[in-house]
Symmetry: C2
Subunit: 234 residues, 2 copies
């Protein structure tokens, strides 16, 4: 009764294991057979099974531990991977005309929270850029950004009137890791005026900070006009 169907690709094994999990043949918390046994059952090499199970573990459906074996995740954590595109490309992808308008740009002492995030001393200055991104001429997002000149000194000479700080940094500053927060916030009066909406409107806000090793590179707040949404499949 064993060898009718052959699962000789890691995709096939992946799909079959996934099926067994979904059909509750293997229930959450259950230990599943080890790789050797599965390889024998599926008629393939252990490395093939390994790759399939690894993919499922990456997706959060399996918990694997050496010696302890593999078991079906107790709480199938839904993981969604979403793309954080450069705003211009996001707008152009919708076949809209991208526009960019620098509002202000100055060397200044950042407010406390920003100073803390950038790990700056109380009197240290940073480059502040406030700009508007437009889609077909309509305000799409406000970019409120602070750039750490200690980490990216060239930013002092960049021409943020032509290219957005967003894009300039992508091309001119590398980062090793970052941190993104998504939230909903009511538009302040200033933001409402810039975006051309009523004060208090619900804005989708993305806060992002990036570091190069231990040095903070930049921290930015992107406040999107009402109607903006991020979508993904799982």
């Amino acid at each position: 009764m064993t060898g009718q169907t052959r699962f000789n690709s890691w995709q096939a094994v992946h799909d079959e294991v996934l099926r067994r999990i979904r059909e509750r043949e293997w229930k959450p918390g259950d230990s599943i057979p080890n790789e050797d046994d599965l390889a024998r059952e599926f008629g393939c090499a252990r490395s093939t099974v390994n790759r399939a199970l690894r993919a499922l573990a990456d997706a959060g459906l399996l918990d694997r531990r050496r010696r302890a074996g593999t078991r079906v995740a107790l709480h199938p954590v839904g993981k969604a991977t979403l793309d954080i595109p450069v705003i211009r490309r996001e707008i152009e992808a919708r076949s809209q005309r991208y526009g960019y308008a620098l509002q202000s740009r100055q060397d200044a002492v950042p407010p406390g929270p920003v100073r803390a995030v950038l790990n700056l001393g109380p009197d240290a200055r940073a480059q502040h850029v406030l700009a508007l991104h437009l889609a077909d001429g309509r305000p799409q997002a406000i970019e409120d950004r602070w750039i750490n000149l200690a980490t990216v000194p060239q930013a002092a000479d960049a021409d943020f009137a032509k290219v957005s700080a967003n894009e300039w940094l992508v091309d001119n500053a590398t980062y090793t890791h970052g941190d993104i927060t998504f939230s909903a916030q009511s538009a302040t009066a200033a933001e409402a005026a810039l975006l051309g909406v009523d004060a208090g409107a619900a804005l989708f806000v993305i806060d992002r900070t990036t570091w190069h090793h231990d040095d903070a590179v930049t921290t930015a707040r992107l406040a999107y006009a009402p109607g903006y949404r991020i979508q993904t499949r799982i």
Copy 2:
């Protein structure tokens, strides 16, 4: 000049390639050496290089095509993977007391948009569940859900007063794929009353729909109380 440092693990290769991308030794758009050459340079097997490059491609840093080779992604699409937890676990993870309050539950004809998403006929009925999730007694999120009884008939008998539809579905209905949207929306009067906030407050909203193959399972709207945010690292 070749063999001083050895990169004999896929992690080491991964890190070295990543370094070269970040340090702009290999610039966006550049073609990088093929796997065989890299294997020779790094003093390891091609499969080791393959695994490293595959990981970087998954992360969006490399574009790979058969025969065409591997090149550094032109627009390093930032991909963020974020966890979509079950609300109860999310609250408990913050060491808060989880509470759940069913508001209403009925068999009804869903409104047009929901009907469209669930792919139901004009007179078809579905199970509607409205509930409140509480953290330390304070309203945390409103769950407004429609369940397709054609796909999940057992939902008609479930006791949504005790266990949230959210969790009941995790345990009782499987899905093959889904679709998630994040947005910011102003609280309606009804929502504001339920959450105990001012009408018009900015709410973080997650809309999720899941399917089992071609059959829609459920569609839900989770509106979070102000202050809620989703965070992740990149």
